[in-house]
């Protein structure tokens, strides 16, 4: 890290922390007879919070914030993993289980403030009142102590957050989006686009075109629901189609003409679920079956093509574009589900271990010949993002957090990479301090039109300081190091995804 850039500026001035998270976690731990979580210091954020909201009026800034980076960086992730005390203490077994904790980093002329509030979902409120978990979550099975009539009864709204019109949507994937107040982060309630779409799944990975046109999907029990929503947040059209979707579909991509799905061969063991396993534990990997490629016409959701490829797992997409009936889609590839169903439960127990490898991948879907091909890169990466002005059209750059070593057992990514998909060249920056980086997103510079011109911003956990920070990079020159680091006086549970909305 170039220290010239990090003349400490304001220090930890004006920090108003509702409840010191470290102290809370330690206090809970002291009363545990059987330790449920022996954390490696890199895993501290996986302790989670006890349901408290936190805020900091002015974060410490090292370096210089760009004068034209003004707006709110919303992020969301699972923030509460434990309830109860002593012998009654419960801890979730899976990272995906925790209740959604929405963060707002506000970049203004006065500096950067931070606020985080739990999504006050039906589940969160009921469990907060009972001081115990009341129903099975994604990866932890338990006997229900409350009625679960539809998936929104256990909706944690913990995966992503985006502004649509005047609404802030906290998104899960098994149920509805949850509307929040963008200014206060107060929860307003679940979103029902129409009566027949009430309690329907709405993925955490909507795709938004440069003009704001918003596309999303949801899968449940062999069906897929598709959504086409205007920039103002008005439902334009929707359809429920039969889809070879298997047990779990996390993300998708769009071109200017199509919705593009890569559907891994994941089954659901329903008898195991009836016997008490959670949904996540009942997912089965059917590696001898194909990963299916489904391409749906954006203008007519009933028109679709399905092709097959040898099996692989995918969570996240960067982008897709097409020309001459050939679709190019980039995503992050894993060989199977072991990252989700083996590595994640380990880190939730506080054990560090090498995660399964996930690599930048590129699939070409030739609709003329009905053939698909795949190319993988060697880097270990996740959470791809692109310049938001290029969603669905030909892009040149993809940004990823990356590992610097194949055998790195530390939790989280220590480096960032910009990949030029045309030349194959990379622009990388590795933090010398021990950090765990989350997804980083590209924010275009106001007034520019050139791809990549802008800032790459994201959040990380400083393992030595045990504090959370945000980064600001020149998105065309990552290797120069961050132009600013914004430090909080506390640590936050890690987030999965988020979006920046310019003021």
């Amino acid at each position: 890290m170039n220290r010239r850039h990090f003349l400490s500026s304001v220090g930890v001035a004006g920090a108003s922390v509702a409840l010191p998270a470290m102290a809370t976690a330690a206090a809970i731990d002291a009363s545990v007879k059987k330790p449920l979580f022996n954390a490696h210091p890199s895993l501290t954020p996986l302790r989670g919070f006890a349901g408290q909201d936190v805020s900091c009026e002015r974060a410490a800034i090292e370096g210089k914030l760009p004068a034209d980076l003004r707006g709110v960086f919303y992020r969301n992730g699972p923030g509460l993993f434990e309830r109860g005390l002593g012998a009654n203490k419960q801890r979730y077994q899976h990272w995906f289980d925790g209740d959604g904790l929405v963060n707002a980093w506000r970049f203004t002329d006065k500096g950067v403030s931070h606020q985080a509030r739990f999504v006050k979902s039906k589940k969160f409120l009921a469990e907060q009142a009972a001081d115990e978990f009341l129903a099975s979550s994604f990866g932890t099975g338990m006997k229900s102590k409350m009625p679960v009539r539809n998936s929104d009864d256990v909706n944690t709204a913990n995966t992503n957050v985006i502004k649509l019109g005047d609404k802030l949507l906290a998104m899960w994937e098994g149920g509805s989006a949850t509307e929040m107040d963008p200014a206060t982060l107060e929860t307003r309630g679940i979103v029902a686009w129409t009566p027949e779409l009430k309690h329907m799944p709405f993925s955490a990975h909507p795709k938004v075109e440069a003009d704001g046109t918003f596309w999303n999907f949801g899968t449940l029990m062999g069906k897929m629901v598709l959504y086409h929503i205007s920039a103002a947040g008005k439902l334009i059209k929707h359809a429920v189609i039969d889809a070879p979707a298997g047990g779990m579909v996390h993300d998708f991509a769009i071109t200017h003409k199509h919705l593009v799905f890569l559907l891994p061969p994941i089954g659901i063991d329903y008898p195991a679920m009836r016997n008490g396993l959670s949904f996540g534990e009942a997912l089965t990997w059917k590696g001898n079956e194909p990963t299916k490629v489904m391409v749906v016409d954006k203008n007519d959701f009933s028109k679709r093509r399905i092709l097959e490829m040898p099996s692989y797992m995918v969570f996240h997409f960067g982008n897709a574009w097409e020309a001459d009936n050939i679709i190019h889609v980039d995503f992050v590839h894993s060989k199977d589900m072991s990252g989700m169903n083996e590595w994640m439960p380990k880190i939730m127990r506080g054990e560090v271990s090498t995660p399964d490898e996930s690599h930048p991948a590129f699939v070409t879907i030739d609709l003329n010949r009905g053939r698909c091909s795949i190319n993988l890169r060697k880097e270990i990466a996740e959470f791809p993002r692109i310049d938001p002005r290029f969603v669905g059209i030909r892009n040149r750059y993809v940004y990823y957090p990356v590992s610097t070593s194949k055998t790195d057992t530390r939790f989280g990514f220590p480096a960032l990479m910009r990949l030029d998909v045309e030349t194959g060249k990379t622009d990388t920056y590795a933090f010398e301090h021990k950090v765990a980086l989350e997804e980083h997103i590209m924010v275009p510079k106001p007034g520019s039109t050139k791809e990549g011109e802008g800032y790459l911003i994201g959040v990380g956990f400083d393992i030595e300081r045990q504090q959370t920070f945000a980064t600001v990079f020149d998105a065309l020159n990552l290797s120069a190091g961050p132009t600013a680091i914004v430090r909080l006086p506390y640590w936050m549970p890690m987030c999965f995804h988020g979006n920046f909305h310019t003021a």
């Binding site: 009625p147 027949e196 329907m200 329903y270």
Partner: protein, 142 residues
């Protein structure tokens, strides 16, 4: 005419006997349902053990939803095992609304506050026994 009269008497006698017989082994059940909101009607179906569970019910009733909950009574139920299924018809369209993949979008519940796992609970999970004495059961929708 004579014959008609006789028949009528026999039927009446039979009714009296059967009513007496029922009374000897029957009881009233008071059903209180909380958490129904204040929109529309609470639609309640009572099933006997021999009925097709969640098919055609032995008895049904409806009452306007009230914020503080509603109470209905089933009179003179013969001894035996019963279960209740109900939903709140919030928009008063006479049916339980469902979303595009068939999941109910109006509140529903069962006796014993039974809940199913990927489907409704079984009769066994929702059943209660009616004996000789008056009884009261409560269902709470959340």
């Amino acid at each position: 005419m004579k014959r008609t009269l006789l028949t009528t008497c026999l039927i009446a006698a039979a009714l009296i006997i059967s009513t007496n017989a029922t009374n000897a082994n029957a009881a009233d059940v008071s059903l209180t349902i909380n958490g129904v909101g204040d929109k529309g009607n609470v639609m309640i179906a009572l099933f006997k053990k021999d009925d097709k569970w969640l098919g055609k019910s032995t008895m049904g009733t409806m009452t306007a939803a009230k914020k503080d909950g509603v109470t209905v009574s089933f009179k003179d139920l013969p001894e035996g095992e019963y279960a209740v299924s109900l939903f709140v018809d919030e928009n008063s369209n006479g049916k339980m609304d469902k979303n595009a993949i068939g999941i109910p979008t109006e509140a529903y519940g069962f006796s014993n506050d039974a809940s199913g796992n990927f489907g409704p609970p079984s009769f066994e999970q929702a059943k209660f026994v009616v004996g000789k004495d008056k009884s009261a059961i409560t269902i709470t929708l959340k």
